[in-house]
């Protein structure tokens, strides 16, 4: 259905490397064209941290990233490659040690009111009711209490939490708390939405539901999104573009366009042949980095040879990557089976 790829990497038989470089150059030229009006831009961004022992740790090195307005960009990479640091540079929570971070062409100097951020851990305020949590953003920004509350009710309806206004966060399930966080972030109508593995704590079924909800809400206002995740399936299902980072210090290894049609249904899109194909391509790029990262944490022991190698072309061979970062990807094999 989606066999013809815009960037010409769609021929299933094409060797992985060729496909990769093709998509890479295509993405590069696209980003140059968009560069004037880019919503988010990182130029040769480098971030170093002082370690407690007095050394210097480089989290990011010469990272280039461009996200167009309304574009959904997923960033994947192995554990500890600086994915989250990327977001803190864009949000203004951290400053780049070298290079530049731009939002709508302006250098980031502090927290930009156009930016929304969804955290990996629960960042809803546990002492505020659901309604007060969602109303916090407008209230912090000076809206009258009454107006903030009525807008919050509106957003709670949109995320399907009407009737839960007076609950406290600890009385909600994990998925509901994520929806509160989503409403809390989106009520400020950010032009730029940064998400740091927001759904990683959810079980697979709940996660797919919340992902669909995210896509539906995203379609409403179409902010530019940078979505950090270690889950490749999630990245492809959601994004227009998937950026693979190298093992730390992180820098961009490859960029892939995801030419799957929208609107998407997260539960169903992974059955499409094109999805499987993209998965194979991107995984072959990510695999080496994941192995390297694993070897580092395992004290330079050789990576287990069982590290999945995607079988070429045939969908039945879809990898079920079982390396460190993918504990929750059990659905992959079933996907492949049904895709036949």
């Amino acid at each position: 259905m989606t066999g013809t790829a815009r960037d010409g990497s769609g021929t299933p038989a094409a060797p992985a490397t060729a496909a990769k470089s093709a998509s890479k150059s295509a993405a590069a030229s696209a980003s140059e064209a968009a560069s004037a009006a880019a919503a988010i831009e990182l130029r040769a961004a480098t971030k170093r941290f002082r370690t407690p022992s007095g050394g210097v740790y480089t989290a990011l090195r010469d990272l280039d990233l461009t996200v167009a307005p309304g574009e959904f960009c997923a960033v994947v990479g192995p554990t500890g490659c600086g994915k989250s640091t990327t977001l803190s540079l864009i949000s203004g929570l951290e400053r780049a040690s070298a290079g530049r971070a731009l939002v709508h062409g302006e250098p980031v100097t502090g927290i930009d009111p156009r930016v929304g951020f969804m955290f990996q851990t629960d960042a809803v305020f546990p002492w505020k009711s659901v309604l007060d949590n969602v109303a916090a953003g407008p209230q912090f920004r000076g809206a009258a209490k009454k107006e903030a509350l009525s807008r919050a009710r509106d957003w709670l309806r949109r995320v399907g939490l009407s009737g839960f206004e007076d609950r406290l966060p600890h009385q909600l399930s994990g998925g509901m708390r994520k929806r509160v966080a989503l409403a809390q972030t989106l009520i400020n109508e950010p032009e730029i939405l940064l998400m740091d593995e927001p759904f990683s704590a959810l079980d697979v079924q709940t996660r797919q539901i919340v992902q669909d909800e995210l896509l539906a809400l995203w379609e409403l206002t179409r902010p530019a999104v940078v979505f950090v995740t270690h889950d490749l399936e999630e990245a492809i299902a959601l994004a227009d573009k998937v950026v693979v980072l190298t093992v730390g210090p992180g820098t961009v290894k490859d960029t892939f366009r995801v030419d799957l049609p929208r609107p998407r249904k997260v539960q169903e899109i992974r059955f499409q042949p094109r999805f499987v194909e993209l998965y194979e391509q991107i995984w072959s790029s990510l695999r080496d980095e994941v192995r390297l990262a694993y070897a580092r944490t395992a004290g330079d022991a050789p990576a287990p040879e069982s590290a999945p190698v995607p079988a070429p072309a045939t969908a039945s061979g879809t990898p079920s990557p079982s390396t460190s970062a993918s504990s929750s990807r059990n659905s992959s094999p079933t996907t492949a089976d049904r895709a036949e």
């Binding site: 949000s91 009111p113 955290f119 305020f125 002492w127 600890h170």
Partner: protein, 304 residues
């Protein structure tokens, strides 16, 4: 707890077995009934043991005193304490009405508690939030904290005289440090994600402090309040013992001067009652302020 009077025959909370469309209802009701009966028996047993313990100690003491085995002049006796209390409440004390003395002590305690708590919380959060301020103040706070604070009582008598202000000052100093260190630590422990989230949602530094840091640090602050009220009471009582015109501490000091053991016990008993009432109030306050926290899984337990 809710239906102790109904006995084991019927349990209002459980559905009547006849209405049970589900097969398990009757069985469930029986289970619940059994569990409740067991819990009730256990509570009763504990209560009886406690009463027996008190009776044994007081009875033994009274027996020893009336049989002459214990010297009542040195050790007093339970009926002596009761007599002393009756005299105080009926005829007043050498320092005026007993209610006046209680009021004076409570006033000093509560005032010292409030001033100490507020200043401890404000300074604790300020130093917790502003790193430079903490670095500057650290040695002074450490030095001040190292002074045995009861010694300050003598200083306060010189400064403030025998009136209540010196006792309030002593209570403040005692309360301040216990609250300050908790507020400081609580501020340092606030989840950084919550602060980042508030800032991105648009909160100013002041709003971050009032909407995120204070409620979050409240867990720590409230924990210190239990001890803090005790310290306030110690401050007031010790201040009064060092020299005062009225108050329970002065009453005890006078009883001590007269070798009136029963008077010392009676004063101590009154202070213990006040402390328990205050503890109850603080616990209520804690429950209200920390309502947002999930219930502790172990239940209320013994509440020690």
């Amino acid at each position: 707890m809710t239906d102790t009077h109904t006995g084991t025959a019927s349990v209002p909370g459980a559905a009547p077995p006849s209405s049970g469309a589900l097969a398990g209802t009757a069985e469930e009701a029986a289970l619940i009934r059994g569990a409740r009966a067991r819990a009730r028996r256990r509570r009763l047993l504990i209560l009886l043991t406690q009463v027996a313990l008190v009776a044994a100690v007081l009875g033994g003491w009274q027996l020893g005193a009336s049989s002459g085995a214990l010297d009542t002049f040195t050790y007093g006796s339970p009926d002596g304490v009761v007599k002393q209390l009756r005299t105080w409440f009926a005829d007043g004390t050498s320092l005026g009405s007993i209610w006046h003395n209680i009021a004076v002590t409570m006033q000093e305690t509560v005032l010292g508690f409030l001033i100490g708590t507020v200043s401890g919380v404000v300074l604790g959060i300020a130093l917790g939030r502003i790193r430079a301020l903490a670095d500057v103040m650290a040695p002074f706070i450490k030095a001040a904290n190292s002074i045995p604070r009861i010694v300050l009582g003598s200083m306060f008598i010189i400064w403030f005289g025998l009136g209540p202000s010196g006792k309030v000052a002593l209570a403040v100093v005692l309360v301040f440090f216990s609250v300050f260190f908790n507020a400081f630590q609580g501020t340092r422990e606030v989840d950084r994600n919550l602060i980042a989230n508030a800032r991105i949602l648009g909160a100013s530094e002041w709003r971050v402090t009032s909407h995120v840091v204070l409620p979050s640090a409240m867990t720590w602050i409230v924990a210190s309040l239990h001890a803090a009220f005790g310290f306030a009471l110690i401050g007031a009582i010790v201040g009064e013992m060092l020299g005062a015109q009225a108050g329970l501490g002065q009453l005890i000091a006078q009883a001590q001067g007269n070798f009136n053991a029963d008077g010392v016990y009676a004063g101590t008993l009154l202070i213990a009652v006040l402390a328990l009432i205050a503890e109850f109030v603080v616990t209520r306050f804690e429950k209200r302020v920390l309502r947002w926290r999930p219930a502790q899984s172990a239940g209320d337990g013994t509440g020690l």
